[in-house]
Amino acid sequence: MSKSGVIHFFLFFVYALAQVLLLKNLVLFNTAFCFLYVVFILLLPVETNNLLLMLIGFLLGFTIDIFYDSLGLHAMALVAVGYVRNYWLGVITPQGGYDSGVTPTLASNGLQWFLIYSIPLLFFHHTILFFVEAAGFSRFGFTLLKVIMSLLFTLSVVLILQYFSIERRR
């Protein structure tokens, strides 16, 4: 396993534990959830294989599900994100392409690119998560409110953490 592989192996547990011990209890206005663990999939190196992304997504989602008592729900949403991620990266390739071994972070591609990258994927994840949980569209309005509020909350936390990690690297 390479050095980055070892780091990601530990990060897996850091994200999972942070989610189930800390962020699970952090819900604003009854609607805004923070699903930081999605970022683990988003921030894996650019050339990571689709299959591997889905597999990691499944494992992480399944772990989260055990603690949320919602078996299959988070796994489903995260596998979908893992599948879509590389196609989306391909669509929004910056001029000159990605450097080899680079991770798609704010530091490597700038704020605007990072927003374009993360917002649709987070929205996609939250939409699947909340609508599957609501088991249909009977609570459409409230579920959509949850999706949007959670998107804003998660995105703010992600951006704050991204800026922190830039500072550290300098």
């Binding site: 011990l21 699970k24 009854n30 889905m54 603690f67 299959g72 596998v79 949980e133 088991a135 409230f142």
Partner: protein
């Protein structure tokens, strides 16, 4: 055949995706069944230990509130006991004891180690399990009111379906008028719950007490659920739309009691035989 393999290999990402999604969908459906999956939820040993540790740390900061609440509960119970004793003395009832009726319900105290109120399907994890005699289907109450029922048990822990779960229905009644309805959460506000199927001719009023009906043998009769906060009746609807304010604040749940009904098997088997005769 070879071309088929090539085709599958070429689109392997898509097929893996499909396979994983189907598996997840199956898990979701399976998990929605009442009394389902036993191992992959927060009552499994590793998960429960992690949650327990975290809860122990958090609980330290809530000790003052919990103590006040428990002391208050003690005082209330002592008062009730005194009243009951006085009645027994006054009417000379101390000889009339039916052990079966008196021991109809046993209460097992448990600590809440995991709880949520904001999802559509909320579950509660407690630190008592099969080793203490819990089985799926038992009712869970707190000093303030009804909490939910046991969904699955592991050796030392159990997962409960909270009243705040869009799939949960509880038979209940308006205490003042005695009319029956069903309690079900609509998934939005964790302090309010819906009372359904109260027909037009009833006159529910704001402030009426809602209690469990005891018709389903899960909950004992007359466990408090809440107080009517809002009553609406639209022109064409056959039923009232009633919002009930929950007696128990679910976000502050610390200790609960699991109700073990010793006559439940008898009631259930009687009802089953009766239904058999009707058909």
């Amino acid at each position: 055949m070879e071309r088929l393999f090539k085709f599958v290999y070429k689109y392997r990402a898509f097929f893996t995706f499909l396979l994983l999604q189907l598996f997840c969908a199956w898990l979701v459906v399976e998990n929605n069944q009442y009394q389902s999956t036993r191992y992959f939820n927060s009552s499994n040993r590793i998960a429960a230990n992690i949650i327990s540790t975290s809860q122990n740390i958090r609980e330290y900061f809530a000790l003052r509130d919990i103590n006040t609440e428990l002391a208050g509960e003690n005082a209330t119970l002592r008062k009730q006991l005194d009243e009951r004793n006085q009645l027994i003395e006054e009417y000379g009832l101390s000889q009339l004891k039916n052990a079966v009726i008196i021991n109809r319900f046993e209460y097992i105290s448990a600590k809440v180690i995991n709880n949520s109120t904001n999802q559509y399907k909320n579950f509660i994890t407690i630190n008592k399990g099969a080793a203490q005699g819990l089985t799926p289907g038992m009712a869970v109450i707190s000093q303030q009111g009804a909490i939910g029922k046991v969904k699955s048990v592991s050796d030392q822990h159990a997962v409960l379906i909270s009243l705040l779960n869009i799939d949960d229905h509880v038979s209940s009644k308006i205490k003042r008028t005695g009319h029956f309805g069903t309690i079900q959460w609509d998934g939005t506000d964790p302090r309010l719950i819906d009372l359904r199927y109260i027909p037009r001719h009833v006159n529910p009023a704001v402030g009426d007490t809602i209690v469990t009906s005891g018709y389903n043998a899960v909950f004992p009769e007359a466990i408090l659920i809440g107080i009517i906060k809002d009553v609406k009746l639209s022109e064409e609807s056959p039923f009232y739309q009633i919002k009930v304010e929950l007696a128990q604040d679910f976000s502050k749940l610390a200790f609960v009691e699991v109700v073990k009904s010793n006559l439940r098997a008898e009631q259930d088997s009687l009802e089953v035989t009766t239904k058999g005769i009707q058909r």
